[in-house]
């Protein structure tokens, strides 16, 4: 396999203007398949989640899954699409063993949703509008495993094994209009777009949205044109781009490859490219040919789907707040800086913080605990922060103990460890571990006298007005009380004792 020439990304950008396009397939998480009552479950034994409809046996009659239609309409609405008053299914005819019927039931000229858009926020806050051409309903194909030859690849395989469990799983294919004007941010935009789609379908609850399981799959179209030219260049379509990072890398790679082809004076070939995560490059699949004549025609076994405006509005009323709007609202409500909020989102604790605030903590207290204590512990334990076992109530209780002067911050982290070790509620742990702050002034005064006596020169400095020297004495007292003193109170008492104004 020859390695394609590439230009550096910077040089490609100097010479050419990229145009992108995406087809994102979303597997719906309905209980059953699109047209059959067989279960839609990932990871079961091969060919056990199938019945006669999924196997394309003669004389069977498919019946549309109502929930899948509703999920599709919800996706359309969340992508700001119009919902077709009436639409039909169509047969896409081709011979390949991933579909036992020799056609895929899809939609052709009448998608259920069309003419939408999605505003994509890039890392630095720039908002880029991606226009949605259409979102249509279809069914997934079976899974082929190529045996022999180069491991797992179709080239040189001796035979293929087919599992039809995935055959008929409801899919919504979301197609963008050509995306122009992204320039050097094209790879970043590609990643952000797919991330946004994934987030939306997850937020809607219509898909498990796990890319590693193929719930969300992306085909990325890339073409280049010289700066200033309106006509699009010839595009390639890269398949198998199934992680967010891969989407970014694949778009970047294809831009660099196209640029080298164009620079050499050759035309780009319109073809399918396969993405390889290991080499971070694409290889040629098959060129577009007249075999791509799918002879679509209306599916005679399925009657049209009519989406009354009442039905659409009913579904619209069930939509959750869009993720991007929710983030904006929460950021404002919590008063976090851009950086603080981004860290919270990246750490995956936005929901937890929202719950903690709802349970009675302030925004700053919630952030302090989640970002300062829990995220780190979760990383060590290799789990999601929300799964570590800290409930919002624990944080609220811990904070009350701190604010009430019962324990100091250092002890609070020990109490948190106790909670995670299953020792009980924060109050119980304070009791059991004997962690209460020493607030009785008697023992404190004794410790202060001792600390002052041990460091007479420091005591003298403080008397002379150098109040900042007090840290050494406070430290001595804290040491003597094994950290169980309230440092603020210790400071007050020292100043009182020495007759100095804080």
């Amino acid at each position: 396999m020859s390695v394609d020439a590439t230009l550096s990304f910077e040089e490609a950008m100097e010479k050419y203007d990229p145009v992108l396009g995406f087809e994102v397939h979303v597997e719906l998480n309905t209980k059953t398949k699109m047209f059959s009552s067989a279960p839609n479950v990932f990871g079961d034994e091969p060919n056990t989640n199938v019945n006669e409809v999924d196997l394309g046996m003669p004389g069977v009659l498919p019946v549309v899954n109502k929930t899948a239609v509703e999920s599709s309409i919800k996706i359309g609405l969340a992508l700001n699409c119009k919902i077709a008053e009436s639409c039909r299914f169509a047969r896409k005819n081709y011979f390949y063993p991933d579909t036992p019927k020799n056609f895929q039931t899809s939609q052709y000229d009448e998608p259920i949703a069309y003419d939408g858009y999605l505003d994509i926020e890039l890392e630095d806050g720039t908002v880029f509008r991606v226009e949605i051409e259409r979102a249509h309903m279809e069914e997934d194909a079976g899974k082929l495993t190529h045996m022999g030859g180069a491991a797992g690849r179709i080239q040189g395989a001796d035979y293929s094994l087919v599992d039809y469990n995935r055959s008929g799983v409801p899919l919504v294919e979301i197609v963008t209009k050509p995306i122009e004007g992204a320039g050097s941010r094209a790879p970043e935009l590609a990643k952000a777009y797919v991330a946004a789609v994934r987030e939306i379908v997850k937020n809607l609850g219509v898909s498990d949205a796990k890319m590693e399981r193929g719930n969300v799959r992306c085909d990325a179209n890339v073409s280049l044109r010289p700066h200033g030219r309106e006509r699009f260049g010839i595009r390639s379509e890269t398949k198998n781009v199934n992680s967010l990072r891969a989407v970014e890398h694949a778009v970047r790679y294809e831009i660099q490859r196209h640029a080298a082809v164009l620079d050499s004076g050759e035309p780009v070939i319109q073809e399918t490219r396969h993405w390889h995560e290991d080499t971070r490059s694409t290889t040629s699949g098959r060129p577009k040919s007249d075999a791509d004549d799918y002879r679509y025609f209306p599916e005679p076994d399925l009657v049209p789907v009519v989406a009354s405006r009442e039905w659409v509005e009913e579904l619209r009323a069930t939509l959750p707040e869009p993720p991007a709007e929710r983030r904006k609202r929460l950021k404002e409500a919590w008063g976090y800086s851009d950086l603080e909020f981004r860290d919270v989102v990246n750490a995956g604790v936005m929901d937890s913080i929202e719950e903690t605030i709802a349970a009675g903590a302030s925004a700053d207290v919630a952030r302090k605990w989640w970002m300062g204590e829990i995220v780190g512990r979760a990383k060590v334990a290799d789990v999601d922060p929300s799964e570590l076992g800290v409930t919002p109530q624990v944080i609220v209780e811990l904070n009350k103990l701190v604010e009430g002067g019962k324990i100091n911050n250092k002890m609070a982290t020990q109490v948190l460890d106790g909670v995670l070790a299953g020792e009980g509620t924060p109050a119980e742990i304070v009791e059991k571990r004997g962690l209460a702050v020493v607030s009785d002034d008697g023992p404190l005064l004794e410790a202060i006298d001792a600390a002052l006596a041990a460091q007479p020169d420091v005591a003298e400095k403080i008397r002379g007005g150098k109040v900042q020297a007090i840290g050494a004495i406070v430290g001595g007292v804290m040491k003597a009380t094994r950290g169980q003193a309230d440092a603020g109170r210790v400071r007050e008492l020292i100043l009182e004792k020495l007759g100095v104004q804080g």
Partner: protein
């Protein structure tokens, strides 16, 4: 007047994976042309105001609730398969070496 010619038939035969001899292509081009022309006469009868019909019965929204029904066992699913391996259908490799 024929809307379909010999090249069209050869193209369709290839898409449909049907092997046809030269004589068959010649004959089918004539026969299919007649059929296509016959179908065309329908559009002469229908005026501009008559939409194309895909479904003869005015029926819409035939839906199924999302409730799991019956499935086959792998043995049942594979009972008609020409070849199988580890509960999966075994098929010839489709693409040749690039």
């Amino acid at each position: 007047m024929a809307a379909i010619n010999r090249d069209d038939v050869a193209h369709l035969a290839r898409l449909a994976h049907i092997e046809m001899s030269a004589e068959e292509l010649d004959r089918m081009a004539v026969e299919l042309a007649v059929i296509v022309d016959s179908v065309k006469s329908v559009s002469e009868a229908a005026g501009e105001d008559v939409p194309a019909t895909s479904h003869p019965i005015p029926l819409t929204n035939v839906f199924r609730e999302d409730v799991v029904g019956h499935t086959f066992t792998a043995e049942q699913a594979l009972s008609g398969a020409p070849d199988a391996f580890e509960n999966r259908f075994k098929v010839p490799a489709i693409l040749d070496e690039d």
